[in-house]
């Protein structure tokens, strides 16, 4: 029987036009200088969606680049996976609306899945499953996020870190005889849900006049219940435990050693977290790819953006084995290996 092996064919990304620079942030948060913001976050600029620009708009533009830069035609896409926590509506499914906007065939499956920083790994896992069980030939995996719309402008803890972006990845069936994507490690710990959350707007807590009341926290940040809240210390502690464990488990499952990995691409959470994880795992710095300087933390898009940048900088080449690790909101985490083809 002919092999049905999933491979990553192409990755594209799209950034909104508006720039949020450290100069703007230093004006809004006078306690911090431009230099201090760059030194602490490692970020030079974040890109922010326009007022009426949705995550799906960025996602459609990223996906259109796939059709420009590959031989895959839109009528060949038989599954669209959209990872987002900024959907257009509660319902319908944003991926269904994107099927129409992208001119994908009616025979195409489409679904949204709600994950953040671990989302790209889960998307690759779903795409691999669809392809290798014969359900799809060409899967379009889109990650699209506009956290900026959830952020209070006076909340330094998140405004300095997050940027908006979307990516599109074409995952195709090939006849490769060896596994190209995988194995996978997944993990979930819902006890951490409260540490990275937009409390209102869903069914659990409705938006109201009371929920919109802005209060100052103990660190001088302002937000209401309708805004994104992040407990940075708790998130950091979670990653200190979950990420090294996921890396070890993935190496065990794949029978590989650290030295067998040509490039490590972790979710680009922030400079501090990445530097610490790199040191803790004793990874060689030249194999630990960094790409947040011009985007900030773009949630589920950081890993595909980094992959694209690593390719264009020739840090990732055909034949390389790359380890991808996503972790964050949920808590949710995932890790996988990809042999670059």
């Amino acid at each position: 029987m002919k092999k049905k092996t999933a491979i990553i064919k192409l990755i594209e990304y799209e950034l909104p036009e508006c720039f949020l620079t450290n100069e703007i942030l230093a004006t809004d948060f006078p306690d911090w200088s431009v230099e201090r913001i760059e030194q602490k976050t490692g970020i030079r600029v974040r890109r922010i969606a326009a007022q009426y620009e949705c995550a799906s708009d960025l996602g459609v533009r990223a996906a259109e680049k796939i059709f420009i830069n590959s031989s895959c035609k839109r009528e060949e896409i038989d599954y669209l996976l959209l990872c987002t926590q900024s959907p257009d509506y509660f319902l319908p499914t944003t991926a269904c609306l994107m099927q129409d906007r992208l001119g994908l065939p009616n025979s195409c499956g489409a679904l949204d899945f709600n994950l953040g920083c671990s989302g790209y790994i889960y998307g690759l896992g779903l795409a691999k499953g669809l392809i290798e069980t014969g359900q799809a030939y060409n899967v379009l995996l889109v990650t699209a996020e506009t956290y900026s719309k959830y952020i209070h402008p006076s909340d330094r803890s998140v405004r300095t870190l997050f940027g908006d972006a979307a990516t599109a990845t074409l995952i195709q069936r090939s006849s490769a005889t060896k596994e190209i994507i995988g194995p996978f490690v997944y993990g979930t710990d819902g006890t951490g849900g409260k540490n990275l959350i937009v409390p209102t707007g869903g069914s659990r807590l409705l938006r109201s006049k009371e929920s919109a009341e802005v209060v100052e926290d103990e660190h001088g940040n302002f937000r209401s219940q309708d805004h994104l809240y992040m407990n940075g210390a708790e998130i950091f502690t979670f990653t200190l435990i979950s990420v090294p464990n996921a890396v070890k488990k993935l190496l065990f499952l794949s029978g590989k050693k650290m030295e067998d990995i040509d490039l490590f691409i972790f979710h680009q959470a922030n400079k501090f977290m990445l530097e610490h994880l790199c040191k803790k795992l004793k990874l060689p710095e030249n194999k630990f790819f960094i790409s947040f300087k011009d985007y900030g933390n773009t949630v589920s898009s950081t890993i595909p953006i980094a992959l694209n940048d690593a390719l264009s900088q020739e840090k990732l080449r055909a034949g390389d084995l790359v380890m991808l690790v996503g972790f964050g909101v949920g808590y949710s985490w995932g890790a996988t290996l990809v042999r670059w083809v």
Binding site: H219, A233, F236, T237, K279
Partner: protein, 76 residues
């Protein structure tokens, strides 16, 4: 790690001049002890002692001695 080494580590975390923290002050009175410093403190303790401290317990600490107590037997 002894208490003096711990204080030096703490001074590094809050970017204070050496010798400015005596060890007897309340945490609130230490300039620079903010959310970033707490994350930095967790990282430093993880790096030097291999212990993952609970952010909630750090937030509950009132004095430098309370922080020392979190590290337990690892401080002499």
């Amino acid at each position: 790690m002894n208490k003096q080494e711990f204080i030096v580590l703490l001074e590094g975390v809050v970017e204070a001049e050496p010798g400015t923290i005596t060890g007897n002050e309340t945490i609130e009175s230490i300039p620079g002890w903010d959310s970033l410093a707490i994350v930095s403190f967790i990282a430093m303790i993880d790096e030097s002692l291999g212990i993952t401290l609970s952010p909630k317990k750090i937030a509950d600490a009132k004095s430098v001695d309370d922080l020392v107590a979190l590290i337990g037997d690892n401080i002499i």
